[in-house]
């Protein structure tokens, strides 16, 4: 109830539309998006139909969202996020393990394979995390989500949002291929997110 309300408000503010039906028929999936703003995960979360949204656990940075009791409540209670560490990573305490746990429980996850927000609105090279997850759960579809304009709504280094109309474009899902080299897979995933079109210089 509160979640659908927050999702509606998020859509209203950012101008992102709701998908008419869930990608992959609503089965669990690994969603991955380009990372440009603190609003990214809320937007993908809000764009999904109710059921798919209920089953989604977006990845959120522990050093930011775990800082106060309130942030923790918003991240874990409202968005049902998986908090992932960005520093002090050990064999037991690492983002992949925590996300894998959520996937084992049958939930969908949302990750940002670039690892960090970029300032210029372009899509950077993907880090290996998505490959680790895809290899461990080869049966799950990987759904690319291209986010546009969110870096203009709330750019890195600003706390003031500007009501620019954003877009979340859900692309055709891709599948893991056992025979494919890691770097090839990462490049393929990135290109799928861009809708098959490499960015040109005058964009951004």
């Amino acid at each position: 109830m509160i979640r659908s309300l927050v999702a509606s408000v998020t859509r209203l503010i950012t101008g992102v539309g709701r998908l008419p039906c869930a990608p992959c028929g609503g089965e669990a999936a690994i969603y991955f998006a380009n990372h440009t703003s603190h609003l990214d995960f809320a937007v993908v979360w809000a764009a999904l139909p109710d059921e798919a949204r209920e089953n989604l656990s977006p990845a959120a940075a522990e050093d930011y969202w775990g800082k106060s009791a309130f942030r923790l409540k918003v991240a874990c209670g409202l968005f049902q996020a998986v908090l992932i560490p960005r520093e002090g990573i050990t064999r037991e305490n690492n983002p992949i393990e925590r996300l894998a746990e959520a996937l084992k429980a049958g939930r969908s996850i949302l990750i940002f394979p670039e690892g960090t927000r970029r300032g210029d609105g372009r899509v950077g090279e993907f880090k290996a995390g998505i490959h680790h997850l895809a290899r461990r759960f080869p049966e799950l579809p990987l759904v690319p989500v291209q986010l546009e304009n969110l870096s203009r709504v709330l750019p890195k280094g600003s706390v003031l949002p500007v009501p620019i109309i954003a877009r979340a474009c859900f692309r055709e899902p891709i599948r893991f291929d056992k025979g494919e080299a890691k770097l090839d897979f990462l490049a393929r995933a990135r290109l799928a997110l861009l809708g098959g079109i490499e960015e040109t210089d005058d964009k951004g």
Binding site: G15, D120, P155, S158, L160, V162, P163, I164, I165
Partner: protein, 328 residues
């Protein structure tokens, strides 16, 4: 409620009823694939017209304050579409925050408290000066003039120009006190009728494009036919305005021509930015900006021409409570 206003609402209602019936009939009779798409778009437009006309008429009944809020909201949404489509840089972010959340609301507060003197200079002077001041603080020099000019234009077109419509309600006119709602109605009705009739004439017998690169669907036949019909129909509404029939015809012509060029100018900007529509908020029409593009440039012109010739002089002084607060 003003008796004349009731008649005007009745006219709009009847036009929409007729349009809806025509839409139903055409839907049953159309055969070809392309024709079906056109009729579907036409019916979507008519449905949106019902909503827009309903909201507009309701706020007119509710008075100056509600009309101001409605147009304020419209300005905000138009500004949002304008800025979204224009590429703005990281260095523009703070200036944009001011434009959206300070200048736009404050300007409409001035409309609400009917302080004409400040209303007329707030954006052209204060905002105009402040925008480059704030932008220069970021230290970014790349594209400085383009960026500031874009934001200044956005405020002038989407906020300043649009706000002349609610301000029309406060324009003092000879022998027309308390009836300005009808003037606003005459203006909006003329512009929108001209848009619709140009579309209808263009669709039915349009051949030679006026400006193929700017707006491929605008044709000479559509423009001349649409404007001609609108002037005739709007002149028939002279009894609801401070104009006599001749003056009404000339005013309608002024509105139509300014509306036509306004639409063309905003279309040129849109094409340059590589888009077909400003947005997708209104079914069948595109964005808010697509619907109000012809109002933008016509509104301040109509306001000032009417005020110049039929007005009794606008009082630019601040409202009494502001003077009191200043201790004067």
């Amino acid at each position: 409620m003003d008796q004349d206003l009731k008649i005007l609402f009745g006219v709009v209602g009847s036009i929409l009823v007729v349009a809806s019936i025509i839409g139903v009939v055409m839907k049953m009779r159309v055969r070809s694939e392309a024709g079906r798409a056109t009729v579907a778009n036409l019916n979507a437009r008519t449905r949106s017209w019902w909503v827009m006309a309903g909201v507009f008429c309701a706020t007119m009944v509710l008075g100056h304050l509600f009309t101001t809020v409605l147009f304020g909201l419209l300005s905000f949404l138009a500004l949002r579409e304008f800025i979204t489509l224009n590429r703005t840089e990281r260095a523009d972010h703070e200036v944009l925050f001011w434009a959206f959340f300070v200048f736009t609301p404050l300007h409409y507060v001035l409309v609400g408290i009917e302080w004409y003197g400040m209303f007329s200079v707030f954006i052209p002077v204060y905002a105009f000066v402040f925008i480059p001041f704030r932008r220069v603080l970021t230290g970014e020099t790349k594209g400085f003039l383009e960026s500031t000019a874009k934001i200044q234009w956005a405020l002038m077109v989407c906020v300043y120009a649009v706000s002349h419509m609610p301000m029309l309600l406060t324009l003092p006119l000879r022998d027309f006190e308390g009836q300005n709602a009808k003037l606003l109605f005459f203006f909006v009705m003329t512009v929108q009728m001209s848009d619709v009739l140009q579309y209808v004439w263009g669709k039915t017998c349009g051949k030679r494009p006026v400006a193929p690169r700017v707006s491929p669907h605008k044709t000479w036949e559509g423009t001349v036919g649409g404007i001609g019909t609108t002037v005739v129909l709007s002149t028939c509404l002279w009894w609801a305005t401070p104009f006599n029939p001749w003056q009404g015809a000339l005013m309608a012509l002024l509105i139509c021509v300014a509306g036509f060029f306004g639409g063309l100018v905003l279309s040129a900007i849109k094409r340059d930015l590589g888009a077909k529509d400003w947005g997708n908020s209104i079914a069948g029409h595109g964005g808010f900006m697509d619907r109000i593009d012809s109002l933008c440039f016509a509104a301040p012109l109509f306001f000032h021409v009417t005020g110049f010739y039929f007005g009794t002089g606008i009082d630019p002084r601040p409202p009494g409570w502001v003077l009191e607060w200043l201790g004067r």
